[in-house]
Amino acid sequence: MRSPPVVEASSLTHTYSLYGLGVAVSGDAALLAALNSRLRQMPPDGATAPALAFEFQTVRDAANHTVEKPRGPGRLVYEPKVGGQVLHFDSRDQLYIEIGERVRALCDPAGGHTRVSIVQGAGDGLWLASHPLLTLPLMEALKRRGLYSLHAAGLSLNGRALLLAGGRGAGKSTLAITLLRAGFGFLGDDIVFLSRDDDGLRVSAFPDEIDVTDETVKLFPELRHLADRPRTPGSPKRQFRAEDVYRSNVVWESRPAALVFPGVADSDSSRLEPMDRDEALLELAPNVLLTEPSSSQAHLDALAQLIRESECYRLRTGRDLDALPRLLRGLAE
């Protein structure tokens, strides 16, 4: 007897409220648990018609994917570090993502609908579906709703945001943990969202799990238990929740104070250097996924506004982690 192409014992739906928008995610129990590990700080949403809907389906094999690549020419707009490609189909304004044969997603950012298809038994399928295949469509759908993503760790002090921007290996998470230990409020480990109001730019939290390397785990005694846990298949790092380890609170909204671009320096002491604003814009420009022109321009404009409203610095992070809270506290005060 042939098994059905879509393998789902039961499909459940969880709803969250994200910046006042209802977000519904539906899928099997394992998938929802993986998503909830990222979204659990978001309050539940009671709206019957969510603004954003994510539908995850597990399929028997790659021949039975429930997501098809749209016809016509698609532009490559991003190459995920885990492999695969992200294409934008200009005429339909659709985002299509595929990572090997294992996972596919099709996102209608303006309509707020995303469908994800995962091959059953793909070792890293659960992680891919709950991480890049959630994050990329979510960022693109929020972009159409005036919320612009910034790849940065965010900490808050007295309602003022300190944003640590930079790519992999810049030491964002190590710095974020150092500041959480010193009592800073938490905005996010890897992403925050920017939006505008009458008072200027607002930084909104995305209090996801914190991703740490084994080297970072070794730096903080309270994280050493993570080294004993099996790593999530597909994930290059280990995860924990800030509220499980530190007495930190999520600060949902802050005003920008400082934008810091960290880099690990082979020195005993850390050094903070003022940074040219044009240089900061060039560093932040790759945050804009080059899809639909008008919202992409608005994203670039929001990044420029962030730079205008923040002090910009480069931080050469030395081995004096204990000294960093004092060095950085002054930027947010």
Binding site: L281, P286, P293, L300, R308
Partner: protein, 100 residues
């Protein structure tokens, strides 16, 4: 016979115009350009930014060079060569197109 030029080739009499599918942002001196078509990022310095601003399809390259040589008090000939070189680079990157 009418010579038809490719819009990506710009001469002194061509009137460069910014392409539509290019995102732009200027903070202080530098203009940052993001080309939706090829996913590339570009930065123009202060003079390049001034050239970019004037590329609205109404002025020839020769006219742009004349304006710049006056604004920056530089010799016209070298200015014209530099502006032409910049615009040819911008055209080959599909950031501007030549009118006329």
């Amino acid at each position: 016979m009418i010579e038809r030029r490719s819009p990506e080739v710009i001469g002194l009499d061509g009137r460069p115009r910014r392409r539509e599918r290019v995102l732009t942002q200027r903070l202080t001196g530098t203009v940052v350009l993001l080309n939706l078509e090829n996913g590339q990022y570009y930065a123009l310095n202060e003079v390049g930014s001034r050239v970019w601003e004037m590329c609205d399809g109404t002025r020839s390259v020769a006219k742009l060079a004349s304006i710049l040589s006056s604004e920056y008090a530089v010799p016209h000939e070298s200015c014209q060569a530099d502006v032409l070189g910049l615009l040819q680079d911008l055209a080959s990157e599909k950031l501007v197109v030549a009118e006329g």
